[in-house]
């Protein structure tokens, strides 16, 4: 075989969204040879689509806010399935990470006294989200991108990583991928690898995620022998666009509700008052008057049920539509037009105004939006050490959405951008420490490289076969129909059977054309990760015989206290790869110290 392009680094970071950029900055500033490898152009990662804000208990708007309250909100939102230490570190460190962004050039919206202002979001007791209108993700990624560029970090753009490489001891020693422009193979030899590959949304038909969210990191970690946890916990954001069909699933920020928007059914009723769960009853308004007064005065009123955690709102919308009280295109109405002035709406929600006007021909200052649930976020992911972000395989680290544990069974809005910053930095530190301590220079095993390349280019060598687009569509249809927002045992069994057939078909994929910028081939190389991740989601969902957070089983409609004490861990113990089986087991959650336990009970 021809000599492959090869690079040697101390740390490579795969993925250049918020977490990857922050990790690379940290490792680089420690003086290590660091590279950032990403599937798209720099600055285009899915972080760019985050709208509402960064959750950080800075107390700029409500001085009562502090990390303890943020920790409590995060754990309650996650239905206590979170790794408590991650939730604690996240709440403690988020304010510093936001201030750091400001020192790197971010321009957040201000309070009247010139500090960073904060907005209300679902599940957060106080107004806590630092933001820039409704384009906070863009501000975050651009700030980190400009910082990384000014530091001179090596960036490999439009370079898709196929698989991690391991040494004789099983430790991760690099990765192999290809340049999308040329299709040429590129090999990275590295002392440590940070996965920051984001989400899995492209397993589903309707998703707010960009094409990149194919679960590459989740799958590559498993193929390298690492554990993943809580793969059944997928968040369906309650408010995605439902019409036109071509934009179905596109996100409508929770900021619409944070800024006064209310959900209504076809009868004009604010139905969220009918869906307040016991766990949140004490802190949720019972009447529309109280809910509306809360926007101005949090101290003397309880919060509107429109801002219950996302899992609760998504299920409520689903039920309303099922009961025949939906909107014309199969969603419900989100009305801010009748509740706030046109000026206010355009100032606070400029992207939403723009998005509905241009894509749906709807003026959100004059008429309600139609919204419905969309696959939005993966709570599950690579099992990591809470402080170093080290995976269970030496040399491998994970941060951001690809890492599991921080958000438990359901993530609160705003906790993702703060997660990226807090744990991106920690993964960079963890990887740097590991690389400094690792003896020798890891070398790629040519046999492993050859095997990866052979699998990747096989679709060109087959005479006819499966169209990768058809296979992807069938996968999405299966996941949407059988492993979606409401699940049950028989359907999950059926999904696993279908996924088995799809894995077989994936071995027969054929692509036409050459290797240079060929989207059909690019999709074919994403299919193995999509299949591995989908299988893990379905297996986890079948194992968790209860409803908790983002995971809802209509055959087990309530939470099971015993299952609330365990994580479902999945790994490949024997053969590895998309065609190989995945083992699953329940393992107890780490015990929380009494002083943190007390925070959860306090007041409620």
């Amino acid at each position: 075989m021809p000599e492959n392009e090869s690079h040697r680094y101390d740390v490579i970071v795969i993925g250049a969204g918020g977490a990857g950029l922050r990790a690379a900055i940290e490792a680089h500033e420690r003086g290590l040879r660091t590279a950032l490898v990403c599937k798209s152009l720099l600055g285009k990662a899915h972080t760019v689509m985050a709208e509402g804000g960064v959750a950080a208990a800075m107390g700029n708007v409500y001085p009562e806010d502090n990390w303890q309250v943020h920790f409590r909100d995060t754990m309650r939102g996650g239905k206590y399935l979170n790794q408590w230490r991650m939730a604690q570190l996240h709440a403690q460190e988020a304010p510093d990470r936001v201030h750091e962004l400001e020192a790197w050039g971010a321009l957040f919206d201000r309070t009247p006294d010139g500090r960073i202002t904060q907005r209300d979001f679902g599940g957060h007791r106080y107004a806590r989200l630092a933001h820039v209108g409704d384009r906070t993700g863009l501000e975050l990624i651009r700030t980190l991108q400009q910082r990384a560029v000014s530091l001179g970090i090596d960036v490999f753009m439009e370079c898709k990583v196929l698989r991690l490489l391991t040494d004789d001891s099983g430790a991760v020693s690099g990765a192999v991928g290809y340049w999308r422009a040329s299709g040429d193979i590129v090999v990275f030899e590295s002392k440590a690898v940070v996965l920051a590959t984001g989400s899995i949304g492209r397993c589903y038909t309707y998703t707010s995620n960009s094409w990149e969210s194919t679960g590459d990191g989740h799958a590559m970690a498993m193929w390298a022998g690492a554990d993943v946890i809580e793969m059944e916990c997928v968040q369906f954001h309650p408010t995605g666009m439902v019409w036109p069909l071509s934009v179905r699933g596109l996100l409508v920020t929770e900021g619409v509700r944070g800024d006064g928007g209310a959900l209504k059914n076809s009868e004009g009723r604010r139905f969220m008052f009918d869906y307040i769960p016991e766990m949140f009853r004490a802190e949720t308004a019972e009447t529309e008057e109280e809910a509306d007064a809360w926007y101005e005065d949090h101290a003397n009123n309880r919060r509107t049920p429109d801002l219950l955690p996302r899992d609760e709102v998504a299920r409520a919308i689903n039920s309303e539509v099922k009961a025949g009280r939906g909107s014309p295109h199969g969603g419900v109405f989100l009305d801010i037009a009748s509740r706030r002035s046109a000026d206010y709406i355009r100032r606070r929600l400029p992207s939403m105004y723009h998005q509905f006007m241009e894509l749906a021909g709807v003026d959100i200052t004059a008429e309600p939006m139609e919204v419905g649930p969309t696959c939005h976020y993966m709570m599950g992911g690579v099992r990591v050490h809470p402080e170093t972000q080290a995976a269970t395989v030496p040399g491998l680290f994970a941060a951001g959405e690809v890492a599991g544990g921080m958000h438990g069974a359901n993530r609160l809005g705003g906790n993702s951008l703060s997660d990226l910053l807090v744990f991106g930095r920690r993964a960079g530190m963890g990887a740097a420490d590991f690389a400094e301590g690792r003896a020798g220079e890891p070398a790629a095993d040519p046999a492993q490289v050859d095997a990866v390349v052979a699998e990747a280019v096989a679709p060109f060598e087959r005479d006819g076969g499966e169209n990768p687009y058809d296979l992807h569509r069938d996968l999405q249809t299966t996941m949407q129909a059988l492993v979606g927002i409401i699940r049950n045992g028989p359907e999950l069994e059926q999904a696993l059977e279908k996924l088995g057939e799809l894995r077989e078909r994936a071995g027969k994929v054929h692509v036409a054309g050459g290797r240079s910028y060929n989207p059909g081939w690019n999709l074919a190389t994403d299919l193995p990760s999509l299949l591995t991740v989908s299988t893990a989601i379905a297996q986890g969902a079948l194992a968790r015989k209860e409803s908790r957070g983002g995971h809802t089983r209509d055959d087990y409609p309530g939470p099971d206290p015993e299952l609330g004490k365990v994580n479902f861990v999945q790994r490949q113990t024997g053969e590895r790869g998309y065609a190989a089986p995945i083992q699953i087991s329940a393992e107890p959650l780490p015990a929380m110290p009494a002083e943190l336990q007390a925070l959860l009970e306090e007041g409620h």
Binding site: S40, A103, V132, E139, W211, V247, V321, Y469, S516, G520
Partner: protein, 269 residues
Amino acid sequence: MTDPTPAPTAADATVTLRVWRGDPAGGELVDYTLPAQDGEVVLDVVHRIQATLAPDLACRWNCKAGKCGSCSSEINGKPRLMCMTRVDELPEGPITVTPMRTFPILRDLVTDVSFNFEVAKRVPAFAPPPPPPDGYRMQQVDVQRGQEFRKCIECFLCQDVCHVIRDHEENKQHYAGPRFFIRYAELEMHPLDTNDRRELVRQRMGLGLCNITKCCTEVCPEHIKITDNAIIPMKERVVDASYDPVAWLGRKILRRRKRTPDEAAATAP
């Protein structure tokens, strides 16, 4: 949720995309005709072509929501985002989709935009003073100017349309283009930045070559007033720094010379 099936606008309505296909060696326009669907954008049609007629049709895209700025192209000759251009808003007849002309072709609709990433490396970083103990304070009215420029999604359509580099490859050596003029303006207007970038933008970034035809403002999908709010104020500041007769006289009398771009850049961290 119920799953509404896509309703074709009319039973036999079709949409034709006339797409440039080729590589650096050359190419041609190829017609693809598909059944029309309600509410589609141009990128939807490209995706359907990939899934059915031409699986290797190269096209860059990410978010399909007008937020990432990846799917820039020229639609009926006008620089636009494919994901924000609705088919039903275009005139009847075939829709021509070609790659951005200012950048070298990689394949089909994908161009090599690395020029922009190279220019980005030459922008001296933001340089604030150390933060006071209780954090920086800035007023909303002061951050708002920079916020307008930070809406930029780096689609590079302004670079594509700019006639200084569109048909003048040689100008790329010493011209940064509208995207970077707003970056300079943003830093220059940042309440906390301590660098003076005026000489740099004049001598190295070619601000003087822009003759404010406003084409960049017209194509900006974020509706940033690039010319009025960034380029013209920057030109004024450069004039103040370089050509003000009083300042010139002052320099002569005091025997001070202007800083060179290298000296200006050297003060950047």
